[in-house]
């Protein structure tokens, strides 16, 4: 951990505020304390976390929850839909779903991964990656990308659209569908629908491969920058399949120390609270989860694409597996602890999602008629899924009358809270320390945050992207400089 969480003598320092962080989903704020020589003394990423939701669903009938929790987020509603459904499967006693139900859910999930990863890479991240972190802010956006690289922008849009189509066919709607219910799903996929979706899948796979190549080549061409930018070591956490494979829908929890050492493996997530606790810090509304065994200081971790691709033993689809091997081998593993490695891992996952979608669409189980199973009722259940942004935990208790008694949600962005803070501190040290502030320099901070694809709307339960405002405030609180820009 960097020693920039709390400055020793904050009273004499100038404060820089970057608020809200743009091109991330939701509302975040970075504060930086500088002394008279622009030396950085304190850096904090604040995300306004509002835990209204857990209260809101108390008393609601449990079968409403998978639909209702989607309102948490307009970006990855499917992840909440599925995590809640998985928790409720246990409450209705569905220990094992029917093959049709499980495969429909997996398909829905891969559609979500594809659309979310495409949106992030092409719309939110590519302007920085293609034009440079301090390129002219007027062109450093998706419109700029469309002007210079129209094919890249077009494919980005169509990849996302295809993912949304998968969601529409499995959940009934592109956003806020109802496909998954406690114990299974409410529809299968007709053969005609499968034929329709299969029509484009080879193109989608090819474009996903191209996207991997874009980010891989950036790493190769700008190795020094990409390796070092905001780099730090950390523990990693995520689900893996029983055989160690990447599995975004289901598995046991694996935590490693980032050097390959195992902290725990194949842990049953029903008991997640034995492995992970959440720390509260006075300066942040968002909690800081940590691995119990390692304690608050050393127990924080990264989740999401980088953690997953780095931790799994293999990826069970051919093209993505080859890319995983290349990713891990790059410069002796240098991409594994680089925040920008998230982009690379994310595109490998997108390729895996595209391949996985094809595999599922060819499977006749998708058109089966057995949709729901029920068994002995239980009063609590935990559902965990690897959402686009990382491990997502839903935990519910119900009463005998079928009402929700309590809920606990740990969303992906909260899991990455400490890691994002570390990345921001590292970048502040690398780029801001001792220099005059410019918009381009501040954007470096945002580039680091954006690499994690934080879904601040999940964490804050608020929606919308807002314009960026950065303020330089001196020790007695007067604004001495202000940077403003519009949202994308």
């Amino acid at each position: 951990m960097f020693n920039l969480e709390t400055a020793a003598h904050a009273a004499n320092l100038r404060r820089v505020v970057i608020e809200p962080v743009s091109r991330v989903e939701g509302h975040g704020k970075v504060t930086i304390l500088l002394d008279a020589h622009n030396k950085v003394h304190q850096v904090r990423l604040h995300i306004v976390e509002f835990r209204g939701f857990e209260k809101f669903i108390q008393g609601r009938p449990y079968w409403e929850v998978p639909v209702m929790v989607q309102r948490l987020c307009g970006i990855c509603p499917v992840s909440h839909h599925l995590a809640a459904s998985k928790a409720l499967d246990l409450i209705v006693g569905a220990k094992q779903l029917t093959p049709t139900a499980e495969k429909m859910r997996r398909l829905m999930h891969l559609g979500q991964i594809l659309q979310s990863h495409a949106l992030h890479f092409f719309h939110l991240a590519s302007p920085d990656l293609l034009f440079g972190f301090d390129a002219d802010v007027a062109t450093r956006n998706i419109v700029g990308v469309a002007a210079v690289e129209p094919e890249v922008a077009r494919k980005g849009v169509l990849l996302r659209k295809y993912g949304q189509e998968i969601i529409r066919h499995t959940a009934g709607k592109r956003v806020h569908g109802t496909g998954s219910v406690p114990g299974g799903v409410n529809k299968n996929l007709s053969r005609a629908e499968r034929v329709e979706l299969l029509g484009d899948i080879d193109t989608i796979i090819a474009w996903s491969q191209e996207a991997v190549d874009i980010i891989k080549n950036l790493f190769i061409d700008h190795a020094a920058l990409y390796k070092a930018f905001g780099r730090f070591d950390s523990n990693l956490l995520g689900l893996v399949r029983a055989d160690g494979a990447l599995d975004l829908y289901h598995g046991g929890l694996r935590a490693t120390d980032g050097q390959g050492g195992t902290i725990f493996d194949h842990a049953d997530y029903q008991n997640y609270y034995e492995y992970i606790h959440e720390e509260v810090k006075p300066w942040s509304y968002m909690k800081f989860p940590f691995i119990v065994e390692k304690g608050t200081e050393a127990g924080w971790y990264r989740v999401g694409p980088l953690a997953r691709v780095a931790q799994c033993d293999f990826i069970p689809t051919e093209l993505a597996e080859a890319e995983r091997v290349a990713f891990k081998a790059f410069d002796g593993g240098a991409a594994l602890s680089a925040p920008l490695g998230y982009h690379w891992a994310r595109m490998i996952e997108m390729l895996h999602a595209a391949e996985g979608i094809k595999e599922l669409l060819l499977d006749n189980d998708l058109s089966g008629g057995d949709l729901v199973v029920r068994g002995e009722r239980h009063l609590r259940g935990v559902g965990v899924i690897e959402a686009p942004r990382g491990t997502l935990i839903h935990h519910y208790r119900v009463n005998e009358d079928d009402q929700i008694v309590s809920a606990n949600l740990i969303v992906s962005t909260t899991n990455n809270n400490q890691a994002m803070n570390e990345a921001v501190r590292q970048v502040a040290m690398q780029y801001l320390d001792g220099r005059a502030l410019t918009e381009g320099l501040l954007n470096h901070i945002e580039v680091a945050i954006r690499a994690f694809d934080p879904c601040l709307s999940c964490a804050t339960h608020a929606l919308g992207k807002m314009p960026l405002e950065a303020e330089l405030i001196d020790a007695d609180g007067s604004v001495i400089d202000r940077l403003c820009r519009d949202t994308v």
Binding site: G59, E64, K187
Partner: protein
Amino acid sequence: MVILTMDKTFILDGKTIPFEEGETIMEAASAAGVYIPHLCHHPEFKPHGSCKLCTVSIGGRLGASCTNKAAAGMVVESETEALNADRRALTQMLFVEGNHICPSCEKSGNCQLQAVAYHLDMLTPHFTHFYPARDIDASHPDVLLERNRCILCELCVRASRDVDGKNVFGIGGRGIKSRLIVNSASGRLADTNLSVTDRAVEVCPTGAILRKRHGFTVPIGRRLYDHHDIAEVPVAGMKEPRSS
């Protein structure tokens, strides 16, 4: 247009509508496949005349078509801009008086209140939400009572009393304080003899009375009003398909 003059006909929006002695305007219109927006009316139950959505102009005088009897030669207007504007405002009031959160409601797509709102092109609630504090009763093993969605149409009251012979429901309080009450000493549904197969359980036009554990099992696309306006969906008691 040639207007047929028969003994037992009246004119509804320029169409000649036959009726049988004793029928209401609503009943005669439904039997002829003509839709008049309504919520508290149900062909199997005694008219209630409370929601006023079915209000029509009868020879220039306004009246509820579900309670007014058809008479030979009367001239009735229903599909006028003014009447539909009133209906829209009434529907908007129903929305703001309760807590109708369609996106997470399991009745969405099968709900008459929602379907009527679509039919009337209601795009916003317009009025300020009351956000009333209403409770839900989950005590019954198989039936959920979600008062947030009750529009006080009394269909369940009528069904329980007149068909099920149980008298489980009633309306208590007055004016804006009116609420659906349950006839048991504890006031809880679990302490009544309501059964999940009762007519009262399926008659609710909104998502206020629900069979438990069945929510969201019908996929989007296969719900009653997914592809059809409420005016095109036949209801029980209709004798001819709707022309709409």
